[in-house]
Symmetry: C2
Subunit: 467 residues, 2 copies
C-alpha cells in the first residue's frame, strides 16, 4: 500500500504512471527481441488488465499479435474493453472466434455487446454460436438496441426486490444469491430497485441506505421514489448529461412498456463523457476520427478528406484575390499585408467557435440565451476589431510610410473581426439547429468566411481608397 502511494507521488504527464516500471518495460522489450513467449508471459501475468491494454496500444502491430499469443489462456477478457477500437480489432483477430467467444461469455453483458458490435456479421455469428445459451440471449437482445442508445450502454443484470419485502429479507436474498451456483447478480452494484408486480421500478435504495437501516423496516419505507428512469432508446449523450446533472452513480433503464430491463452505471457513463469530449476536440481539429492508432494509410485517407474541403476554401480565397490582381500590381505592399487581416479574423472566429461548441455540448447554450451569446460575441469582436485596427493600422503606416494604407488595413480589420464574432457564434448554432454536430466542419466554414471577407474587404477598400 505504501509503495503504491509512493509511485503516484510526483507523477507527471510524461511518465508511464501505472503498472510497468522502466526495468519491466526493458525486460519486455528484450523478451520481444528474443522472441521468448514464456518470458513475456511471466512478465505480464498478474498485471492489471488496463495496464496490459495500454501496453498493447503502445506496441507495433506485429508485437501486439505476439503478445496476445504469448499470453494464451492468461489473456484477461477485460483487456478487450480497455482497448481503442482499432487495436481491439487486431487483438480479436489474433485471438480467433473460439477464444473470443470464451472471453465474451465472461464479460458483463454491456461489455460483451461492445466487443461484439465491432465484429463483421460472420465473426459475430461464429462468436455467438460458441457462447452459452443464457449469455447469448442477453447479448443478442443488447445488439437489437440502436447504437449509442441507453440499451447498448446498460448491463442486463439488475438487482430488484418486490415492494412487499423488508430490509432483512433483501439482505438475506443477497446473501443466498451469492451462495448459489449460477449467480445472476452483477459483480458490483450501488443501488437496488424496488419493482411492482409488472416489474415497473417504483423506487431505488442506495446500498449505504440499506446498510444503515434495521432489518424489520419495509423497503417501501426507505426507497427513493424521486429517481431518474431512463428509457432504453435514450441517446447516450443525454444519459451522460443526466448522470452529471443529477450526480448519479447508477440509474434503472426501462423498455417501452415501462418494465425495468437493465441498469446503467457511472463507469460506462465516464467512457461516454470521454468519447463526447474527444469527438468535439477531434472535429474542431478537422480530424473527425480517432486515428492515433490507425495504420498510416487509413490516417492519411481520413486527413486527406478534410484537407480537400480546406482546399476548396483556399481556392475560394485565391479567386477573391485574383479579382484584385491589377490592384496588387500597382501596390505590392497589399500582398504583404493581406494575410494579416485574414489570419486575425480566422483566429478571433475560432475563439468564438470554441466557446460556442463547448457551450452547446455542455448544454449551457440553449434557445433561451442563444441570441445573447451571438450579441455578446459581436460586441467583443467590435471592441477587439477597433483595438487591433489601431495597432495594425499604425504598424502598416510606419512600415510603408502611407497613412491611407494603415487606414485601409484598420477598416478591413474591424469588418473582419465583427464578421468573425458573428460567424463564430452563428455557424455552430445553425449546425446544431439543423440537427448536425456543431463541431462538424465548422472550423473550415468559419475560416472560409473570414478569409473571403478579410481579403475582399482589404483589397476592395484598397482599390477604392488608394488607387
Amino acid at each position: 500500500v505504501a509503495e503504491a502511494a509512493d509511485t503516484d507521488r510526483g507523477t507527471t504527464h510524461a511518465k508511464v504512471p501505472l503498472g510497468f516500471d522502466e526495468a519491466t518495460l526493458e525486460a519486455i522489450a528484450q523478451a520481444f527481441d528474443a522472441d521468448n513467449a514464456d518470458a513475456l508471459r511471466t512478465l505480464l501475468v498478474g498485471h492489471h488488465y488496463a495496464d496490459i491494454a495500454d501496453l498493447l496500444e503502445s506496441l507495433s502491430a506485429a508485437r501486439r499479435v505476439a503478445l496476445v499469443r504469448a499470453l494464451g489462456d492468461a489473456f484477461d477478457p477485460d483487456i478487450l474493453i480497455e482497448l481503442d477500437e482499432t487495436v481491439r480489432d487486431e487483438v480479436l483477430e489474433a485471438l480467433g472466434p473460439r477464444r473470443v467467444a470464451e472471453a465474451v461469455a465472461e464479460l458483463e453483458s454491456d461489455d460483451a455487446v461492445e466487443v461484439l458490435r465491432d465484429l463483421d456479421a460472420d465473426n459475430q455469428r461464429a462468436v455467438l454460436d460458441a457462447m452459452p445459451v443464457f449469455e447469448r440471449t442477453l447479448v443478442q437482445q443488447g445488439l437489437t438496441y440502436p447504437e449509442d442508445s441507453a440499451g447498448r450502454l446498460m448491463q442486463r443484470e439488475a438487482v430488484t426486490v418486490p415492494q412487499t419485502w423488508t430490509v432483512g429479507q433483501t439482505i438475506d436474498f443477497l446473501r443466498q444469491s451469492a451462495d448459489e451456483e449460477e449467480n445472476l447478480l452483477p459483480e458490483l452494484f450501488y443501488e437496488i430497485y424496488v419493482v411492482d408486480p409488472r416489474h415497473h421500478p417504483v423506487g431505488r435504495i442506495g446500498l449505504s441506505r440499506l446498510l444503515r437501516t434495521r432489518r424489520p423496516v419495509p423497503v417501501t419505507d426507505i426507497l427513493d421514489a424521486d429517481m431518474r428512469v431512463i428509457d432504453v432508446a435514450t441517446d447516450q449523450e443525454t444519459v451522460a448529461f443526466l448522470f452529471r446533472q443529477r450526480d448519479l452513480v447508477s440509474a434503472p433503464v426501462i423498455d417501452a412498456g415501462g418494465r425495468l430491463v437493465g441498469v446503467i452505471t457511472i463507469d460506462d457513463v465516464v467512457d461516454v463523457i470521454d468519447e463526447e469530449a474527444e469527438e468535439d476536440i477531434m472535429l474542431l481539429g478537422g480530424v473527425g476520427e480517432r486515428d492515433l492508432f490507425s495504420a498510416v494509410l487509413e490516417t492519411t485517407r481520413h486527413r486527406a478528406w478534410w484537407l480537400a474541403v480546406n482546399l476548396m476554401a483556399a481556392l475560394t480565397s485565391a479567386m477573391v484575390i485574383s479579382l484584385f490582381q491589377s490592384t496588387i500590381e500597382q501596390a505590392v505592399a497589399l500582398a504583404v499585408l493581406m494575410p494579416i487581416v485574414a489570419s486575425m479574423g480566422g483566429n478571433a472566429g475560432i475563439q468564438t467557435l470554441t466557446v460556442a461548441v463547448r457551450g452547446l455540448a455542455t448544454r449551457e447554450i440553449t434557445p433561451a440565451n442563444a441570441l445573447r451569446v451571438v450579441n455578446k460575441e459581436v460586441i467583443v469582436g467590435t471592441i477587439n476589431g477597433v483595438l487591433f485596427a489601431i495597432v495594425t493600422g499604425t504598424v502598416a503606416w510606419l512600415w510603408f510610410g502611407q497613412p491611407m494604407l494603415g487606414l485601409v488595413l484598420g477598416l478591413a480589420m474591424v469588418a473582419n473581426l465583427i464578421v468573425a464574432g458573428m460567424a463564430g457564434a452563428a455557424i455552430p448554432l445553425t449546425l446544431n439547429r439543423l440537427g448536425y454536430d456543431p463541431a462538424l466542419g465548422s472550423g473550415v466554414f468559419l475560416t472560409t468566411v473570414t478569409d473571403v471577407v478579410g481579403f475582399f474587404a482589404f483589397l476592395g477598400l484598397a482599390a477604392w481608397i488608394l488607387l
Copy 2:
C-alpha cells in the same frame, strides 16, 4: 416515473432537457418582468438544484441577483456547486457572508472547500468565523492542501472499521451511527475501509460485497487489499486517470504518514474529467479561459491577449512576404496562390496537433511511443503533401497557363505538409517534456511555422525557378 421517462424520449441537443418546461420558463420570465418575487419563488421551489443552477447561468447578471433574493431561505446550498465559477461569484456576493456561511456549513467538506477557495481572504474569514467549529476545522484543513490536489478533491468523511471486526459488527455500527444525533457518516458511500491501529488503510470492501456476506465472517476475509491508495498531494489529473484506468467508484486518500484522511468519489472525478477536456478544447481554440458567462470586457481582454500573440505571428509572415516584393511585382499570380500553401499547411498541422494533444491528455502517447508518433505524422504529411501537390499544381497550371508555376506550388506544398506533420507532433511533445500544458499556445506556434515555411518555400522557389 412514466412521465419522467417520456420527457427523456427524443430529447435533442437543442431542447432544455430537464427541469423547466416551456410554460414554466415563460411564467418565470413574466415574474421577472413584473418584479414579482413571491411568484418567482413559488415557480422555483421543488425544482432540482442543478436545474436552478442552469437557470441562473442562462440569466442576465441583474436577474441572477433578483432570483437569489426571491429564493431567500429556500436557496439550496447545492446550487453553488453546480454553478460556473463566474456566476458563482455573483451569487455568493448576492447572498452575503452570513448566508454563505450557513450554506457552506451544510455542504460536504469537499464542496465547502470548493466554494470557499474562490472567495477573497476577507470574505473567506467572515464565512469561516460564522461556521460551526467542527465544520470549520474540516474546511480549514481542506484549504491547506494545494489547489488541484487530491486533498482538495476528497471529502473528509470516510467510513472506516478496525481489522478485528466481523461483517455483523460493521452492519450494526452503520445502523447505530444512523440513529445518533450527530451523524458523522457521509450521506452516500460506496465502500468502507478497513484500517490498522495506526489508521493506515489495509483494504476496502465494496458495499455490494458486504451485503452479500454472512454476519459472522471477519472483514479481513472479504477485504480487497489490492486497492489504489491516493496520496493527498497527487495532482487531480492523475487522480482522474487512476479512476478511469481502474474503473474506480471511490478511493481512500492518505497523508504523508500513510494515515487515511479522506475519500475521493467518482462524482468529483467526473467534474475533473470534464474540466480537463474543457481546458484542452479551450487552449486549442486560443481561448484559455472559460468565458461563456464572463462579462463582455473581461472576455474581450482574454481574447485580445491571444490575438496579440497571433498578430506577432501574422507580422512575421508579412515580413517573410516582404522579402519577395519584387518577385510578386513581376508575377502577381504568386500573390493569388500563396495563401493556398500556408492554409493547407496550417490545416494539416492542426490535425496532427489535435491528435497529439489528445493522445498526451489520455496518456496514450508516452516516451515509449513518442518517436513512432512523430515518424507516422511525417509519413502521413509526405503522402498527403504529394497528393495535394499534384492537385493544386495542376489547378495552378491550368488557371494561369504556366506549368512551372504549378511545379513551384506543388514543391512548396510537399515541403509545407511535411513540416506541418513534424511540427504538429513535435510542438506539443516538446511543451509537455518542458512541463507545460501541450495545448497551451501550440496552435499559434504551429501556424507561425506553417505560414513562414509556406510563404518562404513558395515565394523562394518562385524567385529561383520562375524568374
